[in-house]
């Protein structure tokens, strides 16, 4: 339920015509609240879906984004490179190298599934939205263009006031468990305590 005022049934005795005149008169005397967009930048919420930014270094070419994309507007090409063994006699490793990562924003429906499914945080939403083009084929952003958008990605918003602590913080702040009284091993003389659970390895 929104907090928008619900329309009230018309008051008897106050005809709608008078009411209409009153509303327009009120609008006449109050300054307009119209957004003057090209002149004044709109203040967008931090999670606005403007354009998708790519962090090339994070991409492992797992293809999850391309596969999950409902309208198939992500195009990925890659090849494998063989890395020589780091130590002598070691195993050679293979690595995926990203050749092409295009998003066609003329097809994209801004569902954000690609951003959600990326396991390595290589895709992020940026609130930048002013990339209209005169030619539809210019809406295909290649990986360089997508990487440029990353500079415009805002830092993630902090947790809400009163929200539970993030798990890592909560774990770090938790007081250490009290030491368990350790029974000296039967016949043992040194009485060394076992290390507390947090300090193991």
């Amino acid at each position: 339920m929104s907090d928008r005022p619900q329309p009230k049934p018309g008051k008897p005795g106050l005809p709608g015509l008078i009411k209409g005149l009153a509303v327009t008169a009120k609008n006449l005397t109050t300054p307009s609240h119209t957004a003057e967009y090209p002149d004044v930048e709109p203040s967008l919420p931090p999670r606005s879906r403007g354009v998708i930014a790519l962090v090339q270094e994070n991409c492992t070419v797992c293809m999850l984004c391309a596969r999950e994309c409902p309208d198939w507007c992500i195009y990925i090409d890659s090849h494998k490179e063989t890395l020589p063994a780091a130590t002598e006699g070691g195993r050679e490793r293979q690595r995926n190298v990203l050749d092409r990562f295009d998003i066609d924003f003329s097809l994209c429906m801004y569902c954000g599934i690609c951003v959600e499914v990326c396991p390595f945080d290589a895709l992020e939403w940026s609130p930048e939205f002013e990339y209209a083009e005169l030619d539809i084929k210019d809406l295909l952003h290649d990986k360089e263009r997508l990487s440029q958008w990353f500079a415009t990605v805002p830092p993630p918003p902090g947790p809400e006031a009163g929200a539970a602590e993030p798990k890592e913080v909560a774990a770090a702040l938790r007081p250490a468990r009290p030491r368990r009284p350790v029974r000296p091993p039967a016949g043992g003389a040194d009485g060394g305590a076992a290390p507390p659970p947090g300090e193991q390895a």
Partner: protein
């Protein structure tokens, strides 16, 4: 010689009023509507507050191609905007701003103004008939029906004031006016204003034009300057209606310092009525055809007749 000079001065003055006042009303409508609807569009042209919007509109209208449909009745089609516009100029001649400040002081001024401004609507009918377009024809027929209905209450309401003043001269009516007439003639005022707005085919009585259902009614086929003339005639009509309302019902030049500033009072009252006409356009929805006719025949005509009876009664009792 002096007489000829005076005639020239009066004609030029009326012409100047005819060329400026409708534009002033148009500018006011731009700004007032924009504010009432929270729109910024009309606030850009020129620097301060979009003062040049009307100029820009004029330039735009002049640039447009002047199209006449092939099947149109060419002469009637081309004459229609003039027929719509010129009668308001003629009507303005007889409307006094103050005793003496008038194009031509006529003994039957009221009759003259009503007759002249009624000719203006003929332009709409001509446009609708000659356009060779079914939307224009529909609009023209609707306009005819509407004008037929609303001419009656406007004449009845005006005749009530004429009866109260005992004269058809506009100056005479203005002189005879007393503040208590505001109450006594209030129903006639209402009738006159409503019927006048309907006569101009302004919202909420813009059924004949109905831009969202029959394209633009009788003006569908008009482009460029001819279309602009129709718009201008609407504004000129507002000026005539407002001035007539101010003189007949609101006391015209009566007010403080009326000896020297009478004309200013008339202009101010005219402006106030014009703003009301604009305000009504923004605030109220369009009437349906049947509602339109019902309002004229079931409300305004009986009201005007009752007012006429009341006026007659009071006049007889006073004398």
């Amino acid at each position: 010689m002096a007489d000829a000079l005076e005639v020239v001065v009066r004609v030029v003055a009326v012409l100047a009023a005819f060329l400026t006042l409708p534009l002033l009303v148009g500018q006011t409508e731009h700004k007032v509507m924009a504010h009432m609807q929270g729109r910024l569009g009309p606030m850009y042209a020129g620097g301060f507050h979009g003062w040049a919007q009307l100029v820009a509109d004029g330039v735009k209208f002049m640039q447009k191609e002047d199209v006449t449909p092939a099947a149109a009745d060419r002469r009637v089609f081309r004459l229609a905007p003039a027929v719509a516009l010129v009668p308001y100029l003629v009507a303005m001649v007889a409307i006094p701003l103050a005793p003496g400040v008038v194009g031509a002081e006529l003994d039957a001024g009221l009759l003259f103004v009503l007759a002249a401004s009624a000719v203006g609507v003929l332009g709409t009918l001509m446009a609708g008939w000659s356009s060779a377009n079914k939307y224009a024809l529909l609009g023209g027929l609707r306009a005819a029906a509407q004008l037929l209905s609303y001419e009656l209450p406007i004449v009845l309401a005006a005749s009530s004031v004429a009866m109260a003043a005992g004269t058809l001269s506009l100056v005479g009516i203005g002189e005879a006016w007393r503040p208590w007439w505001l109450v006594w003639q209030a129903p006639a005022l209402l009738c006159f204003l409503v019927a006048g707005v309907a006569e101009l085919q302004r919202p909420p009585f813009d059924m004949p034009v109905a831009d969202s259902e029959i394209v633009f009614g009788p003006y569908t086929e008009y482009t460029g300057l001819r279309f602009a003339f129709f718009l201008l005639s609407e504004y000129a009509g507002i000026v005539v209606l407002s001035a007539l309302t101010a003189v007949l019902f609101l006391g015209g030049w009566h007010g403080p310092f009326s000896d020297a500033l009478g004309w200013l009072w008339t202009l101010l009252k005219t402006g106030a009525v014009a703003v009301l006409v604009i305000w009504v356009r923004v605030a109220w929805p369009r009437l349906r055809e049947d509602q339109l006719q019902a309002l004229a025949w079931k409300v305004l005509v009986p009201l005007a007749l009752a007012q006429l009876a009341l006026t007659g009664l009071v006049v007889v009792m006073i004398s």
